[in-house]
């Protein structure tokens, strides 16, 4: 059996009397596409924050590819291959996409401390950045400042930045959030064409995207995991309908 790419055991977190994570245990095998769904406030983004180290858990364990990362900070988890994107774009407004992705690569390769050589010397890094942007259909607009890009392209840039870190596990927080229908096709292509070496967990409310992309679905409610299964099992389960699908906007 192949090693699990990412797993958690007994993850707990409360803010005073508000329990945001209740004994969360998940196990993601390598390369599988997982969707994480649940009503607003179920704790999905909180779980991502816990897994990436932005939040400290009150108890529990997080393992990345067999290594216990519970005590590590966010930067160190990224260096080990656990990367996330943000639900609301968190980009560099005045940098161009090309600069932003090149920056990510330079940090990854630890070139970013050199101040005596111009960036243009690092031709391999720039080429790699450009290739990533092209693969996400941003090749034309990567020379303009990020804040000038349409929202859908900014969402793609979120993913580009994550890809530039050479992730092993990619956590996408509502990648389609706020993207108008016309632009979501590119987003969809981008996610489906992600390499099979990368394990993907994505939070989504767009059920069409979920059923088309996910091999397995995890349902979260009120800080805890309700159940997990294949898309067919989930859509047939009466508990899920009651809790979520009945009121979903789709």
């Amino acid at each position: 059996m192949s090693e699990l790419a990412l797993s958690t055991r007994g993850l707990n977190k409360s803010f005073g009397s508000l329990v945001v994570a209740k004994d969360i245990g998940i196990a993601l095998p390598r390369g599988v596409r997982y969707a994480l769904i649940g009503p607003n406030g179920a704790g999905k983004t909180t779980l991502i924050n816990l897994m990436t180290g932005m939040l400290r858990p009150d108890g529990g364990q997080i393992m990345l590819g067999g290594e216990d990362i519970t005590a590590l900070g966010p930067e160190q988890r990224v260096r080990r291959g656990l990367v996330r994107t943000f639900q609301i774009n968190s980009l560099f407004p005045h940098l161009t996409p090309l600069e932003a992705v090149t920056l990510t690569i330079c940090e990854r390769e630890r070139i970013a401390r050199t101040w005596w050589r111009p960036t243009s010397n690092y031709r391999a890094a720039i080429d790699e950045a450009y290739d990533i942007l092209k693969s996400l259909m941003l090749g034309e607009s990567c020379y303009r400042q990020t804040r000038e890009l349409p929202y859908g392209q900014q969402r793609l840039l979120e993913i580009a930045l994550a890809l530039a870190t050479r992730p092993k596990v990619l956590l996408l927080d509502e990648p389609a959030a706020g993207v108008p229908r016309e632009e979501s096709a590119e987003l969809f292509t981008a996610i489906t064409s992600l390499s099979q070496d990368i394990t993907v967990l994505f939070i989504e409310h767009d059920m069409e995207l979920v059923f088309r992309l996910a091999a397995r679905i995890i349902v979260m409610v009120s800080g805890g995991i309700l159940l997990e299964g294949t898309p067919e099992e989930i859509s047939a389960d009466p508990r899920v309908r009651e809790v979520y699908l009945g009121g979903a906007h789709g």
Binding site: V78, E99, R108, I111, R117, T119, Y143
Partner: protein
């Protein structure tokens, strides 16, 4: 960086274009030689402007590029100034080595402070920088056995530069000295901001949360740039001491930290030339109005600050850049903003 038409740009050209020397830059640096010919009576003012410009440049590196708001940067300026003065007073009047030592001393102080600076943000950071500046001023004031206190340092005598050029009252040598030091350190700053390190700094300024999420540790970067900035500010202070052969407490006071902030904001942060332009305009304006009661001088400065924040948020250079970035602007001024050997 403003956009150039995509047809002419590939990914490598995008970065190459940023470090090429533009015509307007060459014009600017040639223009700094004008005072020798046009206004030879004002060379000591020109030296002061060069010193202020270098100081503003050092602040731009931390404020414009890394986003660190410092209300106490005069601490390094003053530390470099006093170090250079004391070295000369104690018998070693050689300018260049004194300059290097003063710069390194200020850099050491900056390095120590950088560990504190890198850990804090927002109001706590502003207060710590302010407190540190005020602290150093108090120390200098109290340690009058060393610094001369309110009377300033006496007995600073400089040897001729390179053994040949004596600092005289006309300021001829002084201006050459200040200008060359400014230019050399400007080249360093220019290279730095166009390096991967410079890119990281801009990333920290734009979105420090995202930097963590791409696996970048911000603190070592902040410590590095803060130290480099301290060295530059210290060198600026040292040049002032060496060219005027005096040092007084004014090099450390809050007014100086506030003035340099105003100058940088006026010119525009994050463009390197902003501090230089701001320094030129501010110092010349202040010289013109030097007869006026100092309390009244701050009235137009206050109005200017308010106007800049409300209407011209990127300073003068930012405003100009916006003008030039239109179709018409590109046609008329494109030749200035691109390298001299290429047409836009």
């Amino acid at each position: 960086m403003t956009v150039t038409s995509p047809a002419l740009t590939g990914p490598h050209q995008h970065f190459d274009a940023q470090i090429r020397w533009r015509t307007i830059e060459i014009v600017f640096w040639l223009a700094t030689l004008l005072p020798f010919v046009v206004t030879p009576n004002y060379l000591s003012l020109a030296s002061q402007i060069a010193v202020t410009a270098l100081f503003a440049l050092s602040l731009d590196l931390i404020l414009g590029y890394a986003g660190i708001v410092s209300l106490g940067h005069a601490a390094f300026f003053g530390f470099g100034a006093y170090t250079a003065g004391l070295i000369a007073k104690w018998g070693w009047g050689e300018p260049l080595s004194g300059l290097v030592i003063a710069g390194l001393a200020a850099g050491l102080l900056g390095f120590v402070m950088s560990f504190v600076i890198a850990r804090f943000r927002h109001l706590a950071l502003i207060m710590i920088t302010l407190g540190f500046g005020l602290l150093l001023l108090e120390l200098a004031n109290s340690a009058s056995w060393l610094t001369g206190g309110a009377d300033g340092l006496q007995g600073v005598r400089m040897w001729p530069l390179l053994g040949l050029f004596k600092f005289d009252l006309y300021g001829f040598v002084a201006y050459w000295y200040a200008l060359i030091v400014l230019f050399v350190l400007f080249l360093v700053a220019r290279r730095l901001t166009n390096s991967p390190f410079g890119l990281s700094l801009r990333g920290i300024r734009e979105n420090s949360v995202r930097m963590r999420a791409i696996g970048a540790e911000s603190r070592p970067h902040i410590r590095t740039i803060y130290t480099i900035s301290a060295i530059m500010a210290g060198v600026a202070g040292a040049v002032l001491t060496q060219t005027t052969e005096t040092v007084s407490l004014g090099v450390l006071d809050f007014q100086r930290s506030a003035d340099i902030l105003v100058i940088l904001i006026l010119g525009g942060t994050g463009r390197l030339y902003g501090g230089l332009i701001g320094a030129i305009i501010y110092m010349i304006a202040r010289d013109w109005f030097s007869g006026v009661n100092p309390q009244y001088w701050y009235f137009p400065i206050g109005v200017l600050l308010i106007a800049v924040v409300l209407f011209l948020p990127n300073g003068i250079l930012g405003g100009i850049a916006q003008l030039v970035d239109t179709e018409r602007g590109r046609r008329w001024f494109g030749w200035l903003t691109s390298p001299p050997w290429r047409r836009p």
